[in-house]
């Protein structure tokens, strides 16, 4: 067998399709011809390198969950929206807690004593409802019903209403605006009502740490 004939059989050989007498003849030429042997070895090495490749990265474990959620049309798993909840859910939750805390705080302008029990209930309920804009506004309205003359509460409600409008599209920038604005509002209110044991600012603005699914709804629902 000549080199040219052998080279024409390289692909067949590498594809594992060379058989019979042709394979024997090819093998004999390979033994005799160092040039063909080396050229073939180069292609074999390249094939081995490609076949043995283990450098390709792996998909994350969450890929399947995310894909299934998309394919089945269910809401995305919580990890993919957690960051946005921190931006939006956190400030809203802080505002809700603050509003309800203010509404329950005994002050000169507070409602008659007969409403104390109702206000206490509101505070207890707040933790369950802070993840929903609708519930949040509802709580503010209820708090205002109990104590319509509480100036701090009204200020908080107004600030909240304005900021909720600002993030109507649920954008990250809007959420930052909301967060900064609420920080200022919260600090103003805390100063005005002189709460000595006020929670730290970071705690107020942290994302709600609930194990339930109440906070796990998409941002678009807020």
């Amino acid at each position: 067998m000549e080199c040219e004939q052998a080279r024409n059989l390289f692909d067949t050989y590498l594809g594992g399709e060379l058989s019979g007498s042709l394979a024997a003849e090819f093998g004999a030429h390979k033994l005799d011809c160092p040039t063909c042997r080396r050229d073939l070895a180069l292609l074999e090495v390249a094939g081995h390198v490609i076949a043995a490749d283990s450098d390709a990265p792996l998909l994350g474990e969450e890929f399947t969950d995310r894909l299934l959620a998309c394919a089945l049309g269910t809401p995305r798993p919580r990890h993919s929206r957690r960051r946005r909840l921190v931006y939006i859910g956190g400030p809203l939750a802080a505002a809700a807690c603050l509003v309800l805390m203010v509404s329950a705080w005994p002050s000169a302008s507070s409602a008659p004593a007969s409403n104390d029990r109702s206000r206490e209930t509101l505070v207890l309920d707040a933790g369950d409802e802070v993840g929903s804009e609708e519930q949040l506004l509802q709580n503010v309205k209820i708090a205002l019903t109990h104590d319509p003359y509480n100036v701090e509460l009204q200020k908080a409600a107004d600030a909240l209403r304005l900021r909720v409008e600002a993030i109507a599209n649920g954008t990250k920038d809007g959420a930052f605006v909301l967060e900064n604005s609420l920080k200022e509002t919260i600090m103003e209110i805390l100063e005005s009502i002189q709460i000595d044991s006020a929670p730290a600012e970071d705690d107020l603005l942290a994302a709600p740490e609930s194990s339930g699914d109440d906070h796990d709804q998409p941002v678009e629902d807020l």
């Binding site: 390249a46 390198v49 990265p57 792996l58 998909l59 890929f63 299934l68």
Partner: protein, 190 residues
């Protein structure tokens, strides 16, 4: 499993994804060289496959169908993107099994060889690269590759032939300059 997945059985769909995702991703990643883009293409591949699962003929292999979709999406993606970057990091190698592959993976000179080979693969045209990857990585025959790439079998053979010629043309001058790599070749040739 396919039939259960056609009825939107989540467990069957999950099983299908888990069975094929890594092989598919490795193929797409080798074509695109971008983790993010490859993941996006893989996700889109599965979504399209599930969306059209009712039309899938169960006489064919599901994996071949998936690779077909992935290849077309990859080509579309590559057409929209800039030329591929060649700055690939081959930091770690884990040998697979015994024999030639293992010999290719464990030494420093083999690392250098790997880099050269993959740089050469990256310089192939997308159809040539796809044919090579499916042939060597996925152990597909020319008939299956033809189905995935949607081209005649003869064209697949032509792609493989041209790809090998090009690999040789790129690798040979570089390897000849490197004594150590030449030693590897002589080891294989012997």
């Amino acid at each position: 499993m396919i039939q259960r997945a056609q009825r939107r059985d989540p467990a069957a769909m999950r099983r299908l994804i888990d069975l094929h995702k890594e092989r598919l991703f490795a193929f797409v990643w080798r074509m695109m060289r971008s983790h993010h883009d490859a993941e996006e293409v893989c996700q889109e591949t599965f979504l399209r496959a599930f969306a059209a699962l009712d039309t899938f003929d169960t006489r064919y292999r599901f994996s071949t169908w998936l690779f077909t979709i992935a290849y077309r999406l990859t080509l579309n993606f590559l057409r929209r993107k800039k030329p591929l970057l060649a700055d690939i990091d081959f930091a770690t190698v884990a040998a697979e099994g015994q024999g030639a592959e293992e010999r290719c993976a464990n030494t420093e000179e083999a690392q250098r060889l790997k880099t050269l080979v993959w740089q050469a693969v990256d310089r192939l045209t997308p159809p040539q690269r796809a044919a090579v990857l499916l042939f060597y990585r996925q152990q597909m025959g020319c008939i299956d590759i033809a189905e995935v790439l949607d081209i005649p079998v003869a064209t697949v053979k032509s792609h493989l032939h041209r790809a090998r010629a090009r690999l040789k043309g790129i690798l040979e001058p570089q390897l000849l300059r490197e004594y150590s790599a030449d030693r590897i070749l002589r080891g294989f040739a012997g």
